[in-house]
Symmetry: C3
Subunit: 177 residues, 3 copies
Amino acid sequence: MPFTLQQLSDIEEIKILKHRYFRAIDTADMELLSGLFTEDVACNYNGGTYKVSFKGRAAMLEFLANSFHSGAAAMHHGHMPEISITGDTTASGIWYLEDVFINTETDEHTFGTAIYTDSYRCVGGTWKIETTSYDRVIEVVSKFSETGARLTVQRLAATGRKPEARTDISHLVTWQA
Amino acid sequence: MPFTLQQLSDIEEIKILKHRYFRAIDTADMELLSGLFTEDVACNYNGGTYKVSFKGRAAMLEFLANSFHSGAAAMHHGHMPEISITGDTTASGIWYLEDVFINTETDEHTFGTAIYTDSYRCVGGTWKIETTSYDRVIEVVSKFSETGARLTVQRLAATGRKPEARTDISHLVTWQA
Amino acid sequence: MPFTLQQLSDIEEIKILKHRYFRAIDTADMELLSGLFTEDVACNYNGGTYKVSFKGRAAMLEFLANSFHSGAAAMHHGHMPEISITGDTTASGIWYLEDVFINTETDEHTFGTAIYTDSYRCVGGTWKIETTSYDRVIEVVSKFSETGARLTVQRLAATGRKPEARTDISHLVTWQA
């Protein structure tokens, strides 16, 4: 069965929604992020060295503001979407992530990939992220100082949350042994 | 000439086909892979250190099951599709690959890019990969142990083919001097 | 408001335009590049270690032919487009770049990301790049020889402009201290 025009339009809107999400996290664009989630958004990330699990838009925004902080340099690229329109206002999506995260405060360089399974809901004509989960496929961790590389641009140093403004998100994240 | 609705629908289906292919190889999802190729699929890869050339779905699946084995950690991301619908049931596509392949058994880390030229055929209403070829653009090879990095997640260690189950695919691959 | 068929068709054509651009620069396909820009194309790049600013198709082609030279190995992947159709023959786009640039002549390895803001114009039925700008998000610079890696494939060594054919583009680029 071919896609209808309405379905292709919805698919394009959902891609733009998620593209905006990735662009916004890496630049700490909290205003843009605030409009991208449903009120009851649920998040479950299964990283190599951490697990993240929480519910609600406020928790999501607090999690993101503290994770993409002024000591970080981040690249999160969501690739190869497989979007399914499951109803007039519901959809699901699979994405394949490549991410680089340099934490200059802890001297950690993480390179990884993960597969997202999301659901989306159309609220008042606008698609939003309703649930988002990922499972790691690969993760490679180094000490950044040992790579011999220099960080010559770090956007989050200017836009990310400064140490004195950060809040405790330890109830949202479980670090693995 | 603008695209028709049928063409845009076919393009989206072909993108999802190839997206599924990349997700499936990196996770060794052989069941998903088994439905993605025509019976007479032809494969020609021109890598920096290897050439791959064969015909047929059985050879493709055997090649993939042995290449994405339990000692590997792999990322294959196909980007920036240029899909052309060439007939009611035929299409061609160009993709630009970024890949990372860590072989923990041989201590090799490969980072590379390549340009794919594919053709697709619609069989009983479902688009499948009919021919797939790539030529390397860049390739960078390191000893993984010398990078100083730790592999903290390796999905294929669980899902990839174990040493005792592997079969000989040396007739499908030619290694370059 | 859902996208119209005409808009979805234009969006797909603009994606293919930019995909072709990225494929062409990394392979120094100057013939393909020559058809992708409006005559009055304007370019403004804000890199970590450089700024680029110029106008006109001839300057663009000269800039690209000298930048993607025979001593370079390059990956420029444009991801996650957010395309807006702003009129019958005008559109804008945001893209999120990942790039790797190895200069074997200066022993430099650059890994970076940037956010593009482009505009496009449809000229005689064909979409072209009218303005293109980017701002770096992250940039990491190393000495390539210190990474311990070997470059096993370098397409631009064959296709890129050789030293004796290169021209001075110092009026187009400003290097930062």
